[in-house]
Amino acid sequence: METILFCAPVAADGTLAKASLEALSAAKTLAEGLGATLAVGLFGADVAPAAAAVAACGPVFAVTGEAFAVARYATDAAALEALAKAASATIIIAADDSRVSRALPGVAARLNGRIDAHVVAIAAKDGKPLVTRGYYRQRMTAELTRAARPWCVTVSGGCYAAYDGAPGQASLTDVSVPVTEAMTRTTIKAVVAPSADEQTIRPDAKMLFVAGAGWTKKQGDGAAHVPEAGQLILGFLGKAKASLGSSKSLVDMGGEGESVLPFLTHLHQVGQTGATPRHQKGLATCCHGEEPHVVGWRFITERRAVNLDAACGWAQGKADVLYVADAFEVMRRVNELLG
C-alpha cells in the first residue's frame, strides 16, 4: 500500500503558502482515490500553527529549527529527505514553487527515487497513481505512471483548490536533522521584491495583459509612440490590477538597442521560452505571432485580443474574441472608462 507524504515549508508567520495548500488538496485526492495513508511533513522555524491547520489530514512529521526557516537547497533537501524517511513515504507530493522545486529533485536522487515536476493533475486510476503534466513547453500533455518508489511529484499552482479543512490538534512527530557546516555554506542575503510601481507580475491577478511588439512600431501617423504606449499599458495594469506579460519579440528588443518599454524584462515573457501563467482572463494587444509564443496563452481561460490584423495567428482559433482595431485607441478609451 502507498504511503503518501505531503511536504511543505512553513512560512515565518507559521502558515502554509497557498500553493502548498493546493498541493495538499492534490495529495488528499490521491490518497482518497488509492485508499492510501496520507501523512504531512512540515519544515521551518516553527511549524505548530501550520500543523494545527492541517491536522485533519493525517499525522504530521516536522523538522524545525532556525536553519530551516530559509529557502536554501542544502537545509531544505536535508529536511525533506528526513521527513520522507521518517514517514516511510512511497509518494511525496509538494507544491511546484521555487523553494520545493529547487530541493525536491535532489531529495528524489538521495532516496533513489524518481520525480515529476509541473504536474497539473494527479489521480488514482485502476488502483494506480496517474499524473498529468506538460512536455515541450506545454505543447503536449502526457498522462503517466511509474513503478519506481519513492515517487516525488510537484503540483503546479492553480490546478487544485487550496485545502481549507478545520484546524485541530496535530499528531506531531519531531524529526531531528543535525545542521552541519556543509549545509550552511549558502546564506540568504535578501529577497528583492519589485517595488509597488513595477509590481506588474501578479500571479494572483484575475487578468493577464499581454503586450506585443506592435506597441513600439510606427503607428498610422508614421511615428512610434513608445512613451504613450508605456503610459497606456501601465495605466491599464494599475486600474485593472492586471498582471503583465509580453511577447518574446518585444522583450528581445531590449537587447537590440531599440526603444522599448523600460518596465519590461525577460521576467514578463510568456510563451515558448517564457512563462505559461494561469489567469482567468487574458487580453493580448498588438501581438502577432505563432504557435510557440501562443503557448503563453495556454492556461488563460478566457482570451481576447486587440490587433489590427484580422488574420493574426496569435488570435485566430486561439482567442475567444478578436477586436480588429487600433490598440492605442481602444486602451485609451478603456482606461478612461476605468476611471
Partner: protein, 618 residues
C-alpha cells in the same frame, strides 16, 4: 572586438547546396583517408589535410531549399551506395504525369487560342477518344523523353543536403558553418584571394551597433563559389568581370512550394510526379511530388516572362492548389513546410566565367540549371563533383589554382560531360516564351525533340523591360481610375495590390481553412518557420530611392515571397523587414526599373543576410 579578424585556409567555399555537396563529397575522398588521416598536407596547417571551410548563410544546412525530381545520374555516380531509404523523404519515381489544367474560373489571362481550347475541352473533353479529361484537367497521353525522369529519385533537397553535409563533416575533411553569410569576394590584382564574411552587431543600415564584430576575412588559395542564383559573391565577381561575350542572365523563375501532409483519402502513390501547365495562368507551371510518409512536395514556378506586374506567387499558389484536379486529393491536407527560391533559368546563356585566378564557380549560379529537362540539382551536384576531381588533381600535382590550371582540369571536365551537352541542347529551348505561352510550348517541344537542332527564335530582354505597367496589363479588365483608387487604398493600408486586383478580375476570394489555405503570414510562421537573428544589416536595399518613388508597379512588393517588402505609406521607397525575408531573391530580378549603373541589373540590391527559412523539409 572591433578589429577585423583575418584567417588563412586552403580552400574556402561559399554556399552549401547540392553543388557544394558534390564538391565536398568528392574532395573529401581525395584529401583524407577513411581513417581520417591526411592524403596530402595543408599549406596553412602543416601535418593536417588541406583545410576546407564552407560558409552557408542559412541558419542550418538544409534549411530553405526545395523539393526535387531528378534523374540523379550524377548523384548516383558519385554515391553508388546511396540507399534512398537512408534519407528521410527520398524515394524512387514510380509514375510521371504531365497535366494541362483548364481554368475553372475564367479569371486567368489566356490568349484566344487557349480560350478556345479550354472551351472545347469543357464541352467535349470527355468525348474525345483517348482524351483523359476529368476534373477540368487533361492528363497528356505522352511525356516527351527530354522531360522524363523515369528511374530517378524524388526527394527533399533539405533532407538530402543535411545528409550529405553530415556525411562530409563526419569525414573530418571539411567544416560547414551555417548562419555565416559571406558578404563579398576579396579581389586583389584581378585575383580572388578569399572572402569577407558579413558584419555582425550592426544596425539596419549596417552601422556598428552593440556587439559590433566586423566580418572576418578568410583568405584561401582557392575560393569555391556555389552561392546560387542570387548569391552576393557570384554576383560581385560577375560585376567585376562582366559575363562572357553574348551571355546574359535574363531568365528567372521563383519557385514557391508547400510540403503537405496528405489527407487520408488521397490515393496518390509514393513516387508519383505530376507536372501541370495552363493554370492558374498559362505562364505558371506547377509540380507535385509524392514523398514517403503520405507527404507531398508541391508548388508553382512563376517565371520572369510572365508579364504581370503584380505577380504574386503566394496567391497564385493557393488558386493552383484549389484546382479541382489537385484539390480533390489535397483538401483536408495540412501544411508542414513552406518555402520559395529563385531559379536561374538562363542556363548556358547566362553562364558566367567558370574560373579565374583563385576561384571557381559551381552550381546554379554557374549556369547549370537545364530548363529544357526541368532539372538542376543533378547538374549542380555534377558540376561540384567535376570541380572536386579537378581540385584533387591539382593538389596531387602541387599545382596552383590559376585560371589556366582550373580551366584545364575543371572546365575541361565540365565541357566534356553530359551537363554541357544537354545545356547546349537546352540553350535556346525557352526563347519562344518571350513571345507567349503557345509559341513557348511549341518552341520547347521543337528544341527538345530535335535535340537542339531547331528552335523558335525570339529576342530576349532584361526582365525589367518586360514588365508592363499595371494599367497596361489590366487594360480592358480594370479601368485606370479603378486602379488608381485601389492603389491609393492599398498604399494607405500598407498592402500590396495583387489581392484587390485579382479579386476585381474574377479570382475567387481565398477561404482560409487553417490547414492549407492560410494567410501568407501564417505560411511563413507555420510552414517556413521564418526568423532572423538580430545584429545584421538589411540585405535588401534600393539603389536609387527616387527611382522607387517614381515607380508605379512596385513589383518587388507584389512578388515578395515573404511579405517582407511592403508599401510605405509615407514614402515611395518600399519598407523591408528582414525578419520575414525567405531569401528567395525574387525582388532582385522582379524590379521593373533598371539600375543606373548597369542596365542589365535592377534597382534592388540584394546582399548577404542571415536568417530566413527554418524548415529542413523543403
Amino acid at each position: 572586438m572591433n578589429e577585423r579578424q583575418s584567417m588563412e585556409t586552403d580552400i574556402v567555399c561559399v554556399g552549401f547546396g547540392p553543388a557544394m555537396g558534390g564538391f565536398l563529397t568528392t574532395l573529401a575522398k581525395g584529401i583524407v583517408n577513411e581513417d581520417g588521416s591526411a592524403v596530402m598536407e595543408s599549406t596553412v596547417v602543416p601535418g593536417l589535410p588541406p583545410q576546407v571551410i564552407c560558409y552557408e548563410r542559412a541558419d542550418d544546412i538544409g534549411v530553405g531549399v526545395s523539393g526535387v525530381v531528378s534523374k540523379a545520374r550524377g548523384i548516383r555516380e558519385s554515391l553508388p551506395e546511396l540507399d534512398p531509404a537512408c534519407i528521410p523523404l527520398c524515394t524512387p519515381i514510380t509514375e510521371e504525369k504531365v497535366v494541362y489544367l483548364v481554368d475553372p474560373h475564367g479569371a486567368s489571362r489566356r490568349s484566344l487560342p487557349l480560350k478556345a481550347a479550354d472551351a472545347a475541352l469543357k464541352l467535349l473533353g470527355g468525348k474525345f477518344p483517348g482524351c483523359r479529361y476529368k476534373d477540368m484537367a487533361v492528363e497528356l497521353p505522352y511525356i516527351p523523353p527530354f522531360l522524363e525522369k523515369h528511374g530517378g529519385l524524388t526527394f527533399s533537397l533539405g533532407q538530402f543536403n543535411q545528409w550529405v553535409g553530415n556525411t562530409v563533416m563526419a569525414t573530418g575533411a571539411a567544416q560547414i558553418w551555417p548562419a555565416s553569410p559571406v558578404a563579398a569576394p576579396i579581389i586583389e590584382h584581378r585575383k580572388v584571394v578569399g572572402v569577407r564574411l558579413a558584419d555582425q552587431g550592426v544596425d539596419k543600415a549596417g552601422k556598428p551597433d552593440a556587439a559590433y564584430m566586423p566580418g572576418m576575412d578568410v583568405r584561401a588559395r582557392l575560393t569555391v563559389v556555389g552561392d546560387g542564383p542570387v548569391g552576393p559573391v557570384g554576383r560581385a565577381i560577375d560585376e567585376a568581370r562582366g559575363l562572357p561575350m553574348g551571355h546574359h542572365q535574363r531568365d528567372y523563375a521563383v519557385g514557391m512550394k508547400f510540403v503537405v501532409d496528405l489527407p487520408g483519402n488521397c490515393p496518390w502513390k509514393v513516387g508519383t510526379v505530376i507536372h501541370t501547365i495552363g493554370y492558374p495562368e498559362p505562364e505558371i507551371f506547377g509540380f507535385l511530388y509524392v514523398l514517403p510518409g503520405h507527404v507531398a512536395s508541391l508548388g508553382i514556378f512563376v517565371p520572369s516572362w510572365f508579364d504581370n506586374p503584380v505577380r504574386t506567387a503566394y496567391r497564385y499558389l493557393q488558386h493552383w492548389m484549389q484546382h479541382p484536379y489537385l484539390w480533390k486529393y489535397l483538401k483536408g491536407g495540412t501544411i508542414r513546410s513552406f518555402g520559395a527560391k529563385t531559379l536561374q533559368e538562363s542556363g548556358k546563356n547566362g553562364e558566367p566565367y567558370l574560373v579565374g585566378d583563385g576561384y571557381a564557380r559551381i552550381g546554379e549560379g554557374s549556369g547549370t540549371t537545364n530548363v529544357l529537362t526541368g532539372s538542376g540539382v543533378d547538374e549542380a551536384w555534377t558540376s561540384g563533383v567535376q570541380l572536386g576531381q579537378a581540385v584533387v588533381e591539382l593538389l596531387e600535382k602541387g599545382l596552383p589554382f590559376t585560371s589556366e590550371n582550373l580551366e584545364k582540369t575543371y572546365v575541361a571536365r565540365r565541357r566534356a560531360s553530359w551537363v554541357e551537352a544537354e545545356a547546349k541542347i537546352a540553350a535556346r529551348s525557352r526563347e519562344a516564351f518571350a513571345s507567349g505561352f503557345i509559341p513557348g510550348i511549341i518552341g520547347m517541344a521543337l528544341t527538345g525533340l530535335t535535340k537542339g537542332a531547331l528552335c523558335w527564335p525570339a529576342d530576349s530582354e532584361p526582365v525589367h523591360k518586360r514588365i508592363p505597367s499595371i494599367e497596361e496589363y489590366y487594360h480592358g479588365r480594370i479601368s485606370c481610375e479603378e486602379i488608381t483608387r485601389i492603389r491609393q487604398e492599398a498604399t494607405a493600408k500598407g498592402l500590396a495590390l495583387h489581392d484587390a486586383l485579382m479579386d476585381k478580375v474574377g479570382w475567387p476570394e481565398i477561404e482560409y481553412d487553417g490547414k492549407l489555405l492560410i494567410s501568407h503570414q501564417d505560411a511563413l510562421l507555420l510552414g517556413g518557420k521564418v526568423q532572423a537573428a538580430p545584429g545584421y544589416a538589411d540585405h535588401v536595399t534600393f539603389e536609387c530611392p527616387d527611382t522607387c518613388r517614381a515607380c508605379a508597379e512596385k513589383t518587388c512588393i507584389e512578388a515578395c515571397s515573404g511579405q517582407a517588402i511592403t508599401t510605405n505609406p509615407d514614402d515611395g521607397v518600399p519598407l523591408f523587414d528582414r525578419e520575414k525575408c525567405v531569401h528567395c531573391g525574387a525582388c532582385l530580378w522582379n524590379c521593373s526599373k533598371p539600375s543606373k549603373a548597369d542596365p542589365e541589373r535592377t534597382n534592388v540590391r540584394f546582399a548577404a543576410g542571415a536568417g530566413g527559412l527554418h524548415s529542413a523539409e523543403n
